[in-house]
């Protein structure tokens, strides 16, 4: 294990598993279980951004929420600054949780319509009983300035803001307790293109200014490429490929990653560029395929893929992949 001062690990996730039990159809039927997150491990270094990318239902949102304790974790370890979250006392745990916050995708449903913007941002301070009324007000003013909102907008209600401004309020709320780590759950997916740029700029600025660590969840590869230092690609509850930014986009290994990259529509692309087209949809997570989860849509699938589930292996330094084949060779032959 490297002991590098610069690459201090802030959060370590080990073999995280989250399962949802579905309602029984009858008293005697077996209860079906959805393995939403099925053994996910990664580290995030302090001040860096890890991107989680994948299609809907791949478990990326659940992973983020499990880290924050918003859904129950069935198995696995979460280490924040080398301290196991499960081993802490309740008080310590609550104090640690304050340092981990979340920004949501939909800025319309993530703000209480009955509270003013100021009250929403102030709420974390009230909950944790921090400061007196004057200090709280000062902190709110400060936060509003930080995210680019005017002070006098504190007295407005969420519905009086545009989508981009609402997302700024959400960011201000997440910053209220001075966190170190923020889960950004698709923070720009619901916004218009021009507003997306504003919010991404803001997030990058804040990260530099406040030395924040992000877990950045998105389905949009262009956004991921713009902000993430390291990227993990998820498919049906597991990470299929994990590498730093340059390696993942320039030398994608897993067939799924390559198909995903190839499917992205770009403004400058020629209409004639050949694309890898995936057949069909993501399988139902209740009865996922045996062996490799991706085999039903993979064009390289062989018998071994049916029988054995590939494990995430380090194929190049820092480049992890879960596939039975060294697919870089096959790519070269295409």
């Amino acid at each position: 294990m490297e002991k590098n001062v610069q690459n201090k690990i802030l959060l370590k996730v080990e073999n995280l598993k989250v399962q949802f039990k579905l309602k029984r159809t009858s008293w005697f039927s077996e209860q079906s279980v959805v393995h939403a997150v099925d053994g996910v491990s990664f580290n995030i270094n302090k001040g860096k951004t890890l991107g989680l990318v994948g299609e809907s239902g791949c478990g990326k949102t659940t992973t983020g929420r499990a880290i924050l304790g918003l859904v129950n974790v069935n198995e696995g370890k979460l280490l924040f600054e080398n301290r196991d979250l499960a081993s802490l006392s309740l008080g310590e745990m609550l104090r640690l949780r304050q340092r981990m916050q979340i920004i949501f995708q939909d800025p319309y449903s993530s703000l209480n319509p009955r509270q003013t913007a100021g009250d929403i941002v102030l709420d974390p301070l009230v909950v944790h009983n921090i400061g007196n009324q004057k200090e709280r007000q000062e902190r709110t003013d400060e936060l509003f300035a930080l995210v680019g909102l005017r002070k006098n907008q504190q007295y407005l209600y969420p519905h009086q803001f545009s989508g981009g401004q609402r997302q700024r309020i959400c960011i201000a709320r997440a910053l209220a307790l001075n966190p170190d780590f923020i889960v950004c759950d698709e923070p720009v997916s619901a916004l218009d293109v021009a507003i997306q740029a504003q919010i991404l700029n803001l997030l990058c600025e804040l990260q530099d200014e406040l030395d924040l660590t992000f877990l950045f969840i998105s389905h949009d590869l262009a956004v991921i490429q713009h902000v993430c230092d390291e990227i993990a690609v998820m498919y049906l509850g597991t990470i299929v490929e994990k590498a730093d930014r340059v390696a993942l986009f320039n030398n994608p290994q897993h067939p799924y990653t390559r198909a995903l990259l190839s499917a992205v529509l770009t403004g400058s692309s020629d209409k004639k560029t050949s694309r890898i087209r995936l057949e069909g949809d993501i399988p139902n997570p209740i009865n996922k395929p045996s062996g490799c989860r991706f085999r039903t849509r993979c064009s390289f699938s062989k018998e071994i893929c049916v029988e054995q589930e590939p494990v995430l292996e380090e194929k190049y330094p820092g480049h992890w992949e879960a596939c039975h084949f060294r697919t870089s060779k096959t790519q070269a032959s295409i």
Binding site: S110, N112, V127, R173
Partner: protein, 300 residues
């Protein structure tokens, strides 16, 4: 802001820089409520009823149980609203009945709503086993005919006004519970509730401060309806002779005089109109409150 403007020389006046004034919440709510004419009308009318309820027996000192006229005298002949089958003054009855009717209606409603919201909120928020248990209890109360159940309670204990109030509340809270539970189930999935949990908010505060205010609109409507229903329940109980015989209520007046409706319409109509007015006023007030508390309807 001004130096930025001169720098890029955009001649447009930026609308976003208009100051928003801090509004004092309750004052704004009050202003909106007062702007709502029907609600204000309802509120003033309720004040009148309350005034009558408190000072009625002083202003009209006559005994409502005393025979003052020939039975079933028409209104205007000696008495303002006529007399009932025992020659008692209907007007005096209404004035003296205001107090008891309103106390029973408001207290029973409050108790009903309190039980209903508590059970519904807990079941909806926590789900799982708690939800299962609370809902089975709710169903148990739902399958019993409420009037029969209330009769049993009053008959077993006593026909004291307190027992009547509790009997009404205990038998009818299920509607509110189910309604609150449904709203909670819907709202607890919203991201702003998750956000509250992420900042470390306690369950109690999330339930009371975050979810409940958002669940209120349908509940307020249920409450206004509940007031009317409670008055009618009380009338039904007094009609069966199960309430305190020394207290006069509007429901009791209607119940006792129902046989004479065709011969002496005034014996039933005047107390009926009084009940109608109260229920109407409460409905208007509820509607007005609902609008005044909803920030989306606040004037821009």
């Amino acid at each position: 802001m001004t130096d930025i403007k001169s720098k890029d020389q955009n001649p447009f006046f930026s609308l976003e820089e208009i100051d928003s004034e801090r509004e004092v919440k309750w004052r704004e709510t009050l202003r909106l409520f007062c702007a709502n004419r029907p609600a204000l009308f309802g509120f003033l009318f309720i004040i009148v009823f309350i005034f009558v309820g408190i000072f009625g027996s002083i202003l009209v000192p006559a005994d409502p149980f005393e025979m003052v006229a020939v039975p079933l005298t028409s209104p205007g002949v000696g008495t303002l609203f006529g007399s009932d089958y025992l020659g008692r003054d209907v007007f005096v009855g209404i004035v003296h009945g205001t107090k008891a009717t309103m106390i029973i209606a408001t207290t029973a409603t409050l108790v009903t709503v309190f039980i209903g919201i508590t059970v519904g909120a807990l079941a909806g928020y926590y789900g799982g086993i708690i939800d299962n248990i609370l809902m089975r209890i709710t169903e148990f109360f739902q399958v019993l005919p409420p009037l029969v159940f209330a009769m049993v309670i009053v008959a077993v204990f006593s026909s004291d006004i307190l027992v009547v109030i509790l009997a009404i509340a205990v038998t009818t809270w299920t509607t509110e519970a189910r309604l609150t539970r449904a709203e909670f189930l819907k709202i607890k999935e919203q991201d702003y509730v998750t956000a509250s949990r992420a900042i470390g908010d306690r369950d109690r505060r999330i339930i009371a401060r975050i979810i409940l205010p958002n669940a209120m609109p349908p509940i307020i409507i249920a409450i206004t309806l509940r007031v009317g229903i409670t008055i009618i329940y009380e009338a039904a109980l007094s009609f069966l002779g199960l309430t305190d015989p020394d207290i006069i209520t509007w429901g009791k007046m209607i119940g006792q005089s129902r046989d004479y409706f065709f011969d002496a319409w005034w014996t039933v109509t005047f107390p009926g109109v009084a009940i109608l007015l109260i229920v109407l006023c409460i409905a208007l007030i509820g509607d007005g409150l609902n609008d005044a508390l909803n920030p989306k309807l606040r004037g821009r």
